[in-house]
């Protein structure tokens, strides 16, 4: 029996995502998406904390159109979003490996869009 291929995903360190949206346009360029579509969205989250404090976060979210840059990664390249992320908060790899990485640091999210 052939061994099942490990599932790949994207590990996002949202503590340091600054909302620059390079991932969105990197994906649009890679696949020629029309404006407004693409494999990545970035959501702004403004949390209201006690004592009137606010906390601004951004969260990149791979959409239904994300193909995890299978063509690029096969060639040994990073995904378009991982390479260009200005804050270097996106990591592509096997889900199991990335999950171990999550043990080390809080404020991470692991996506397995495919």
């Amino acid at each position: 029996m052939r061994e099942k291929k490990p599932r790949n995903g994207l590990l996002i360190d949202y503590e340091f995502c600054t909302g620059c949206k390079a991932c969105v346009v990197a994906c649009a360029q890679e696949y020629g998406w029309p404006a407004g579509q693409g494999g990545m969205r970035v959501t702004e989250i403004l949390q209201e904390l006690p004592k009137g404090r606010g906390y601004l976060s951004f969260l990149p979210f791979p959409t239904e159109s994300c193909v995890l840059c299978a063509g690029r990664t096969r060639k040994g390249l990073k995904t378009a979003c991982e390479q260009h992320c200005l804050a270097a908060v996106i990591r592509h790899g096997p889900v199991q490996e990335l999950a171990r990485e999550m043990e080390r640091k809080p404020r991470m999210v692991l996506w397995a869009p495919r």
Partner: protein, 814 residues
């Protein structure tokens, strides 16, 4: 070339395209002459493969259907939107004839050359202006309020500019053993994720945060940094100097300063006369004494000790008194009581106890104290500042106070601190205040530069005309008439100039206007001739803005378009019979001469870092005698020391110590206006996908930031019946503009933040629309003519306004 017809070109991004101050290494993939992809260069030490949305959208930019692709000559009235396509040769001939006629009749100074933000355009517009004979290069913001003013202020205080240290001086960056990680960075009015100003890659600070650097944020907005700061001081806009004075108050009175640096490297020990309030000079002590030499009190001999500015030394054995008073015998037989600069500086600082600072800034005293201690105790620590420092009439004293902070805490030119920034290898393409490029105006022309007679700091450091005075001179014709303007990527109407309708009137008064740009803008619509410019991918060039030294390498051409360097070169050749360069590459070789490399040789390398021991490589250059032309240790200031008391401000008749002054259009200075317009209006927050007035026509980018936004606190919005996403008018005594409300906790209840640079390329170019230039233009609410006392800075970040819901009729267009 890996496949047929496909080439990959490694180059440096700078200017038209991403629009920013550049520096990123990129790889362009070009197939059959078309750009098919632009990516970050993983091998480049600056960005390590990373790249912003604006650069990643270059395929939509370069091949955009609206790009100008042929020179245009005005066919109807100015602003009527009627154009006739002409050839480059016709355009050059027409421009040459018209500009020469103006020069012959009115003198070359009557022609202005305007530019926008810091691009690879400034060198070529300098080449053009100076060979034509005009000294009047103009930057459109009131008070010249962007960056150059901070540079001039820094030159005044410490002789050189400086930036935070993210190991950018070394090819191996954070791994270089010479570098030390900053323990703390104070981010002073700067939202780095959205832009990379000042020749820095904004996200270097994020790299440092991941490595453990702690952040202090000074910002009225809850920025991304503010959320993640050890200390966030949410100050009232325009009161930055008061926060800085509060910091100095804590640091000086709690003894948190670096005493050795203050004694040795500042002018703290120099004596001030208590009768005149001015510095005591050797010429006061004896006939024939030098006015350039200052005096300290020698504690050993209880006598004056002359600071010899030429040798940068006191007499042997002298121990200058740092703090206290003394009485000195003068050449005229009299005696005068003196005190040290440090004593007077402490008194100035003591005028800002924290309860007063809190009253001015709206930041609780305890927060200021804790943040000041945190900064002062962190070693090393850096401060990085943004345009709010420039965008206030009190700008030079604010910069002076901040410079005093990093100097007296011993953070100047040390690893991980505020490191002096010079052009790599001293090769200067784009001259900034206080530096010289290979192009210079003649002395005769320079004497006529607008407002240098009025403003000492402009005469001494700046290379530009003062903007507000220039605009007035267009109308008054005094002291000489202004007849023409060359605008290169300078959208005066669409976002750069305050009071844009006044700028329209000004343009219409001129006899001849040339605009050079990549797309039509509200400003190009008012020109007589429009020339289609090239993006950074379509030209050769060099970049030496700090380090490294890099080449820009032509990857492709777009038919009909020409780079600014070529346009400048061709016309300069026509204007100046003695023009000295044979070709553009000759010119680039000349610029690069101090590096010992030719353009071709540097192009082979891609980038080069100045070696240790070179004046453009850190650290502690003042100790090694690397800064001053005479090779003595010290700084490039009149005294050779960091000037806590500014010799030049004394000479110019301005406050020689840093001070806070209330902004001119604030609730405190104008309670009459505040009664009608109770909210503080701030503008200019950066978008991560749009650069100033650009990119509104790039689909990928516009989709991410589609509308002009005003940020309003939920409580304020509710008070005015404004819902999220509704269109509102922002209005004050100068004008009004239409914005879409973003109801958000990012701003305090008492302030709104209106986006700048908004016009609508999709709307008609002809008047009265001018691409919708006046509908959502934040500059409608900002005046010209409120510049600082030294001509630097203007109230751009702190006006007054009210907001109210727009009617459905108002919104039809929007």
């Amino acid at each position: 070339m890996s496949e047929s017809g496909v080439k990959r070109v490694r180059t440096t991004s700078w200017s038209a395209g991403p629009g920013c101050h550049g520096g990123c290494g990129v790889v362009a993939t070009v197939k059959d002459g078309r750009l098919v992809k632009l990516e970050g260069d993983p091998e480049h030490p600056w960005n390590q493969g990373r790249l912003c949305s604006r650069a990643l959208a270059m395929t939509q930019y370069v091949h955009h259907p609206d790009r100008l692709r042929t020179p245009l000559k005005r066919a109807g009235e100015r602003g009527e939107g009627k154009w006739e396509a002409i050839s480059w040769e016709e355009a050059y001939d027409l421009i040459e004839a018209r500009m020469k006629a103006i020069r012959d009749e009115h003198g070359p100074e009557s022609f202005l050359f305007t530019i926008g933000t810091g691009r690879d355009i400034y060198p070529w517009i300098s080449l053009l202006a100076y060979t034509y004979g005009s000294p009047n290069i103009v930057f459109g913001l009131s008070g010249n309020s962007c960056y150059a003013t901070r540079i001039s202020a820094c030159k005044m205080v410490q002789g050189d500019y400086m930036v935070f240290d993210a190991a950018q001086w070394f090819p191996d960056r954070y791994d270089d053993p010479r570098w030390v990680q900053p323990e703390c960075i104070v981010i002073w009015g700067y939202n780095i994720p959205a832009s990379c100003p000042d020749n820095l890659f904004g996200h270097w600070i994020v790299d440092l945060m991941k490595r453990g650097t702690k952040i202090v944020t000074i910002d009225p907005r809850l920025s991304w940094f503010a959320s993640r700061s050890e200390h966030w001081l949410q100050l009232r806009p325009g009161t930055d100097a008061a926060i800085a004075m509060g910091f100095l108050h804590v640091i000086v009175n709690e003894g948190l300063y670096d005493c050795a640096f203050v004694e040795k490297w500042t002018n703290a020990a120099h004596l001030l006369r208590t009768d005149t309030g001015r510095l005591l000079r050797e010429s006061d002590l004896r006939a024939g004494g030098a006015t350039a030499n200052f005096v300290a009190w020698d504690a050993v001999r209880s006598a004056p000790a002359v600071w010899d500015a030429a040798s940068q030394a006191y007499p042997a054995g002298a121990q200058p008194l740092l703090e206290g008073t003394c009485e000195v015998a003068l050449a005229d037989g009299g005696r005068v009581a003196c005190e040290t600069v440090w004593t007077a500086f402490r008194r100035e600082v003591d005028r800002y106890p924290l309860d007063r600072v809190a009253e001015i800034t709206m930041v609780p005293a305890e927060q200021v104290r804790e943040a000041a201690r945190f900064y002062a105790k962190a070693k090393p620590a850096a401060i990085h500042w943004g345009v709010p420092i420039d965008m206030t009439p009190n700008m030079t004293p604010t910069a002076h106070a901040l410079a005093a902070l990093w100097c007296i805490t011993g953070n100047l030119d040390v690893p991980g601190g505020n490191v002096l920034a010079r052009f790599a290898f001293n090769a200067v393409a784009y001259a900034l205040p206080g530096t010289k490029s290979v192009f210079a105006p003649s002395a005769e022309a320079e004497a006529k530069r607008i407002a240098t007679d009025r403003y000492g700091i402009f005469k001494k450091f700046s290379l530009r005309a003062q903007t507000d005075v220039t605009l007035e001179q267009i109308f008054t014709g005094e002291p000489y008439p202004i007849k023409g303007m060359w605008m290169a990527a300078s959208n005066l109407i669409g976002g750069l100039g305050q009071d844009p309708k006044r700028w329209v009137e000004a343009l219409k008064k001129l006899d001849f206007v040339v605009a050079v740009d990549l797309f039509h803008t509200p400003s190009t619509q008012l020109a007589d001739v429009v020339l289609p410019a090239a993006s950074f991918l379509e030209k050769d060039g060099v970049r030496s803005w700090w380090v490294p030294l890099q080449t820009i390498n032509k990857a492709m051409t777009v038919e009909g378009c020409k780079p600014d360097i070529e346009i400048g070169f061709e016309l300069a050749r026509r204007f100046d019979p003695g023009f000295q360069w044979e070709s553009i590459h000759d010119l680039l070789d000349d610029i690069l001469k101090p590096s010992g490399m030719t353009f071709g040789e540097l192009q082979e390398k891609g980038w080069a870092f100045p070696p240790e021991g070179h004046p453009s490589a850190p650290y502690r250059r003042h100790e090694k005698g690397l800064l001053r032309p005479d090779g003595t240790p010290g700084f490039c200031t009149p005294s050779g020391r960091v000037e806590l008391y500014s010799t030049l401000r004394e000479e110019w008749g301005l406050e020689p110590f840093p001070i806070f002054e209330e902004p001119p259009l604030s609730p405190l200075s104008r309670p009459d206006l505040a009664a009608q317009y109770p909210l503080i209006l701030s503008t200019g927050r950066r978008s991560p996908v749009l650069y100033h007035t650009e990119h509104r026509q790039i689909p990928w980018l516009r989709a991410l930031d589609p509308d002009p936004i005003v940020e309003i606190h939920p409580a304020t919005a509710s008070e005015h019946g404004i819902g999220a996403g509704e269109w509102v008018w922002v209005e004050n005594s100068f004008g009004k503009a239409l914005f879409k409300a973003k109801v958000t906790l990012e701003v305090p209840t008492w302030m709104v933040m209106a986006a700048h640079g908004w016009w609508f390329p999709e709307e008609p170019g002809a008047e009265p629309s001018l691409h919708g230039a006046f509908r959502s233009n934040a500059n409608n609410l900002l005046p010209m003519g409120y510049q600082g006392k030294d001509g630097q800075g203007a109230p751009i970040k702190h006006g007054l306004c009210r907001v109210y819901k727009a009617t459905p009729e108002d919104v039809i267009h929007a």
